[in-house]
Symmetry: C2
Subunit: 158 residues, 2 copies
């Protein structure tokens, strides 16, 4: 069901990419920098919540169902963030300071949102984790979504 | 309807604050710093999306229904973030580097989540904005929620 919800979203994004082409042309360096900073903030929050779940999986933090649900729910909300205002045109690596965004984010928008859909599903599954073993089992899919997106859509370090 | 959904959430948070008291005792400086950094990332994203809406309201950016909806939807998702893993015990101002969180966040957890509920409602209203005037009209409630929370729960600059 998650994927059937996501499919029209991917289509909607493609439309957005076209619709914001004019917007991109009028971007100032300042608005581009702010968008990149906001994306980095999104990634920091994703990393934070993934780190909490990883600590539980590794036994460094005691399992607590409420905490795991909270981290997974926030991860899920971050995966579902609308990309239109964050990944604005003209903010790829080389065009905006600090950006590591590959042009494929815009040329293959459906593939890009699919990676967020992977994280959305993996984090939704994690929300129901009832014990450490469930957390351990769920970490694989979360890690795979991060890796898949970074490999395809993140450029080298600046 | 939004408020009736929020009320049980506030109760749930109070329970969480109690439930994580033991967790707080085992926090390392590193985990406290990470929580503070994640909250700052949340605030940066809130500021970014509010800034986009403000630019439209001020006429600095052309009205675009899809962009306004995207910014408002992301703001709404940020307002709904589960507080349990972000506002962990022992990370108030003075106890964790860079924190400006007042102790009232924990002693008055219901009041604190009410402020996020204000932002949740204000951003949900903004999602339907059909023109610049609607954006202008909706900015007041968003600004009030920011102000109300900062006045009651944010300490002085470090």
């Amino acid at each position: 069901m998650k994927l059937s919800i996501r499919a029209p979203f991917a289509v909607a994004l493609s439309t957005t990419v076209i619709a914001t082409a004019g917007l991109a042309a009028s971007h100032t360096a300042s608005s581009s920098n702010k968008a990149v900073a906001a994306r980095h903030a999104q990634m920091e929050m994703i990393s934070y919540n993934t780190g909490l779940l990883g600590s539980v999986a590794k036994g460094e933090m005691e399992f607590n169902a409420e905490m795991v649900n909270s981290a997974a729910a926030n991860l899920n909300a971050l995966a579902k963030m609308d990309t239109a205002t964050l990944w604005i045109g003209g903010t790829e690596q080389g065009a905006a300071d600090g950006s590591r965004a590959k042009p494929e984010i815009w040329t293959d928008a459906a593939g890009f949102t699919d990676k967020f859909a992977m994280l959305e599903k993996a984090s939704a599954d994690m929300m129901d984790a009832a014990d450490v073993d469930s957390v351990k089992a769920g970490m694989g899919a979360i890690g795979e979504s991060c890796k898949a997106c970074h490999e395809a859509y993140r450029g080298p370090k600046n």
